[in-house]
Symmetry: C2
Subunit: 337 residues, 2 copies
Amino acid sequence: MKQYNCGVVGIGAVGTEMVRLLKARNFPVKALTILARSERVELIDGVRYPVQAARPEAFAGLDFVFFAGTEGAKGASQTLGWEAVQRGGIVIDNGDDFRMDPRVPLVIPEINPEALRQHQGFIANPNCSTIVALMALAPLHRAARLRRFVASTYQAVSGTGSAAIRELEAQVRAWVAGQPLPREVYPHPIAFNVIPAVGSFKDDSGESTEEIKLRNETHKILGDAAIRIAATTVRVPVFNGHSIALNAEFERPLSVAQARALLAQAPGVRVVDDPPQAVYPLPINASGCYDVLVGRLRTDPSVANGLALWVAGDNIWKGAAQNAIQIAEELLRLGLK
Amino acid sequence: MKQYNCGVVGIGAVGTEMVRLLKARNFPVKALTILARSERVELIDGVRYPVQAARPEAFAGLDFVFFAGTEGAKGASQTLGWEAVQRGGIVIDNGDDFRMDPRVPLVIPEINPEALRQHQGFIANPNCSTIVALMALAPLHRAARLRRFVASTYQAVSGTGSAAIRELEAQVRAWVAGQPLPREVYPHPIAFNVIPAVGSFKDDSGESTEEIKLRNETHKILGDAAIRIAATTVRVPVFNGHSIALNAEFERPLSVAQARALLAQAPGVRVVDDPPQAVYPLPINASGCYDVLVGRLRTDPSVANGLALWVAGDNIWKGAAQNAIQIAEELLRLGLK
């Protein structure tokens, strides 16, 4: 089997999982290059990885380049992404700089792999919330056509990056020790709190960038800009695993039984749905799970053809690192590399 | 000023705050009787309160009887509520046994005080989520008529009762100590998790009792059963303070500016809304606050006359104990006692 020189740019919460998952998923890696702002050595699962400075020349010879796109590495793809492409690599960018760029396919492999056929060497990984929501909604959309959905998110701190994971931990330890909660990453304590702000507020709409992404990316991935979307994105004191409450309205009737059958056979989705037995998707169960969990399936009686559901997915895996690697796997499967 | 013999039945998370708030709000208490399952002495803020066994005879001479309605005390109003009324008391019941009973007004004093005029000695306090949501929605409903709303809740453990508060604390302490998380109250860990189940699942609708309450109680309080309501109720690792994401649709147009003006003058509501400056309602700020906080006001562009908002309120105060005492205050103001 052919093997490929792979690069990971940025080695925070997402980049580290990219390195782990390339191994765990047996991606045909010939050699792995890790790039970041500065040279150093990173220890991941007992293995020492040399980290090189991310300069244009460092991309020479790389077949696949995964930009982790979080924290310090954010924007690295903006200055270096096309440099990697010019040197013959395929870039898969987890950042948000190019997601809406018409040259760049935005892909969830289980949902719109066909978009990869038009790739120009640069492919974008969608936002974590978008991926988790669409893994459940896309199979239903194919069957009954989504007209509108309302999404309220319960997002883990890992989505902000490693520093936020440390911040939640430090706040909880301080609380137990009876000390003031340290605070650097979020403007408010996240321990024992929820913060109705993910991303930033850049325009006059009152929507956060995360809420806008969820709408725009859904339109691009499903190829249907007529779907009306309202989101409230909220940070919760969970280490890893995003959950989302979804209220969807379809053009055609879709019973709970039909929806359950569609989701049961959807790749990458696991139906976890027996509420009287306390069985429903939980972020602690979604964390470390390749599948997105779907449950609390019920009729939304407040609207025609309405369905309510609850999803939970590993935002760092399926919502970021795993989906990026699945894009590379799909490119190989489709013979597009 | 006339003073009244008051009773509090049940002395868990809600009952304790009823005792505190009767004092803090200067309710004209002549004597306070605390009733519970068994006789004992309770220490609240350094004061020792004798607790008597809740038997029918114990209600003799009480003018106002507040049933806390949580945990062990749940159902006490079912066996003892009308006994108290027969002995000349006015019962204000925080439990859910009589909320939908046509003999029983269900009241948020800022919203439907007029319902008190028909009281038969027994008044119900609404569910905590219903109160927090309606404090924001009712003023908008009066202006533009609600047609539908979607509510996704972020509910604190205090709503489950004192044992759940202790459980979250014990789980966090165990986590910091590197020990297994103790678990008694919830079927899953609540620390670093969210649980999409509040109340229980009794029917085939797939909705939880909490979700059904939010719909039915809203219809009764607003006197408008045509409002279509879909809720997903979720427990989050917050000690106190319920938050709710709301997507509302109105019959008539309602701009964000109009909504903000209406909410700014609504009694019991505080507008907290400057997201770029990280100013929005937070449960840690709502906790210990008489007002319900409202923010993230924005147009919901996904539907005609749509408005999205985010509310946070103290579920034990405004969502329970405080609202119950406000009902008694309102009865006095209206000369109905």
